[in-house]
C-alpha cells in the first residue's frame, strides 16, 4: 500500500504581518510548524503502513525551509518526501496550489503508483479546505473530506469504508481506491516518534523539484494562475465596548453579578 500525504508548513502563531504594498502575507515573521491537521494525516498513513505494509510518501509545496516539515514527517514514520519549491509557485491561491500539487503527485505516480492520498481537512493559516478537493478533482479521484474514522480496508476489492463528518453526525461512505481523504483531528492520537526515526529524520534530505522538473502550463501557476486576489485588507469592524469594572476583586465580582442576575434568572425560566 503506497500512501501519499500532502502537508503544509504554517506559522505557529497569529503574529503574522501583511505586506502593505503587495497585500500578501509575510511568512517570515512567525515560527513555523507542520499544519496540525496534516500531522494527523501523516499519523494515519503511518498506522496504515504498520498494519498493511507498504510505504508512506510526503509532498509539500513551499519555500526551501518547508523541508523542515518533511523531516518532521520522516520522524513520524514516513519513508520519502518531495518538496515542490520554486519562485514560479509563489503567490498561488488554492486553485493554482492544487494544480502544482497535483502535478507533483502525478510525477510521483509515474515512479510508483499511489493507493491513497491524505490531506488535513484544512490549513490553520488559510482555513479554506479547498486544496484537498482541488487535488482530488485534478487527479480524478473520489474526494472524502472531514473524515473522522476509517472503518475498514478491503485491499483485494480495493475499497475503503470510512466515517465522514456531516452536521449532527456522520455518514458511512464506501469508496474505491485510489481516493483522496482529508482528515479531522479525531481520526487518531499522535504518537511519539521512536529514536531511530529521529536519527533518520536528522540526516534526511527531501527530493526537491522546481518548475524545470515539470512540463507545466505557466498560465496556471502563481499569481497568474490564481483567479482570486486580495483587493483590500482592513482592521475588522468591532462592536463598541462597554465598561471596565473597577475596584477590588470582590467588588467587581459583586458589581457584575448584580448587573446580570436579573437577566440570567429570566433566561433560565
Amino acid at each position: 500500500m503506497h500512501t501519499l500525504v500532502c502537508v503544509k508548513q504554517v506559522p505557529d502563531t497569529t503574529e503574522i504581518k501583511m505586506d502593505p504594498i503587495t497585500n500578501t502575507m509575510d511568512r517570515s515573521s512567525a515560527p513555523t510548524i507542520i499544519n496540525p491537521f496534516d500531522a494527523h494525516a501523516v499519523e494515519e498513513a503511518v498506522k496504515i503502513k504498520k498494519k498493511f505494509g507498504g510505504k508512506v510518501s510526503i509532498i509539500s509545496m513551499g519555500p526551501p525551509q518547508a523541508r523542515e516539515v518533511i523531516k518532521k514527517c520522516i520522524e513520524m514514520g514516513a519513508d520519502e518526501g518531495y518538496l515542490l519549491s520554486d519562485r514560479a509557485f509563489a503567490g498561488s491561491d488554492t486553485l493554482s496550489t492544487s494544480y502544482i500539487l497535483a502535478m507533483g503527485i502525478k510525477k510521483i505516480i509515474e515512479i510508483e503508483p499511489i493507493d491513497l492520498v491524505f490531506c488535513g481537512k484544512q490549513a490553520i493559516d488559510g482555513d479554506t479546505a479547498q486544496v484537498g478537493p482541488g487535488i482530488a478533482c485534478r487527479l480524478n479521484m473520489p474526494q472524502l473530506t472531514y473524515v473522522e474514522a476509517i472503518e475498514s480496508f478491503d485491499l483485494k476489492e480495493k475499497v475503503v469504508v470510512l466515517h465522514r463528518k456531516i452536521d449532527n453526525g456522520y455518514e458511512v461512505v464506501q469508496s474505491k481506491l485510489p481516493c483522496l481523504i482529508t482528515v479531522e483531528k479525531d481520526i487518531n492520537e499522535l504518537s511519539f516518534s521512536p529514536l531511530t526515526n529521529m536519527i533518520k529524520a536528522a540526516r534526511y534530505n527531501p527530493i526537491a523539484w522546481g518548475i524545470n522538473d515539470f512540463n507545466a502550463d505557466l498560465s496556471q501557476l502563481g499569481l497568474k494562475g490564481s483567479p482570486t486576489s486580495v483587493r483590500r485588507i482592513f482592521p475588522p469592524e468591532q462592536r463598541v465596548g462597554g465598561e471596565l469594572l473597577k475596584g477590588s476583586e470582590d467588588e467587581v465580582i459583586k458589581t457584575l453579578v448584580d448587573k446580570l442576575k436579573g437577566g440570567i434568572r429570566k433566561w433560565q425560566l
Binding site: 506559522p11 502563531t13 497569529t14 503574522i16 501583511m18 502575507m25 496540525p36 491561491d93 488554492t94 486553485l95 490553520i124 493559516d125 482555513d127 479554506t128 479547498q130 486544496v131 484537498g132 478537493p133 482530488a136 473520489p142 474526494q143 469504508v161 466515517h163 465522514r164 452536521d167 449532527n168 453526525g169 456522520y170 455518514e171 458511512v172 461512505v173 464506501q174 469508496s175 479531522e184 483531528k185 479525531d186 483567479p227 486576489s229 486580495v230 483587493r231 483590500r232 485588507i233 482592513f234 475588522p236 468591532q238 462592536r239 463598541v240 465596548g241 462597554g242 471596565l244 469594572l245 476583586e249 467587581v252 465580582i253 457584575l256 453579578v257 436579573g262 437577566g263 440570567i264 434568572r265
Partner: protein
Amino acid sequence: MAAINKEYSGVWVFVEQLEGKLATVTLELVGEAKKLASSLNVEVSTVLLGDKVETIIPTLFEYGADTVYIIDDPVFHFYRAETYMRAFCYLVEKYKPEILLMGATTTGRDLAGAVATTLKTGLTADCTALDIDLEKKILLASRPAFGGNIMATIVCKDHRPQMATVHPKVMKMPVPEPNRTGIVVRETFAIEEESLKTIVLKIVKDGVENVKLEDAKIIVSGGRGIQNEHGVKLLNELAAILGGVTAGSRGAVEKDLIDHKRQVGQTGQTVSPKLYFAIGISGAIQHTVGLQGSETIIAINTDPDCPMMKIATYSIVGDALKILPKLIEVFKQSLSEIKNLELKNSNYDMKGGVTVE
C-alpha cells in the same frame, strides 16, 4: 477556462438538504443573494439536487428565490461530490450565473472546492460579509485572514462564476413572503449508479455528543487563559449554575481543553446568545466573528488591552483561575436568593396554597 463574459448573469444559491430536510443556511443565503442581486439588478436562483425533493420548492420561493433549478433523481439521494459536482457544473455551464453561494458546511465546502476546480474559477471560503463593487459589478467577498488579525476583501476579477461559502448563522434569516412563487426549471442529468466510485452506506446522527451552541442563551467560553483541567472544571461549574453551556476559543481547543465541537469562531460555530462569557480569551478576530451577535459580553482577562476587553459589555481585569471560584460562589448565592424570593412571592399569591417547585 471560464473567462469573464457578459453572458454570466444572476446570483445562485446551492440548496443543501439531507433526505428532504432543508439546511437553514440555504435560506440565509437566499436572503443575502437577494441583496446582491438587487444591487446588480439580476435574479436569484437556487439549485436543488436530490431525490423526491419537490416539496422544498415553495419554501425557496417564499424566502426569495425567483427561479428553482431542480434535478430530481435517485442517484442524488445522498450528497456525493462526484454526482453533485457534475450535475452542478452542468447547470452552471448551461445557464451561466455570475455569482455562486454555498453554505460553509462540510457538504457546501466539499462541493464548492470541487466545483471551483472543475470550472477553474475563484472561490472564497467562510466569508463574513458580501457586497458588490457597483462600478465593476464584481463580488466583494470579505473574510478574516491569517488567524484572524485582519479582514481581507477577496475578488475574482476575470473568471466566472465568482464563488463564496458562508457559515450558518452569519447572514440573517430573511422574512418569508407567504405564497410568493417563481419559475421551476426541471432538468435531467443522467449518471449510471454503477459507474460511480462512492456509495453512502448510512447516516448516523450523534444525539448526545451534539452540542447546539447556536441555540444557547448563555454561553461560558474559555480560552488559553483557562490553562488546565482545573480551569475547565471551573468553566463547567459556572455554566451549570447559570444554566448555560460551555464553549471555547480555538486556543483552548488546540490545547485539548475544550472539545472542537464546542469551538466558537470562524472555524467553529457562530453563536448569538443573550450572555457570552469570554474567560481567558484574548479575542482574535477568528474568535470574535463567531460571537458578534451576542447581546451581552463579559470578558475576564489578565491583559486589560486585549481585543476582547475592548468589545465586551463588562470587563474584569484579573486571573480567571482566581476570579472564577469567587464568581461561582457569588452567583450561586444571589441566584438562590432570587429563587427564594420568587418562591415566597408565589406562595403569597396563592394565599396559603401548596407550592410545588
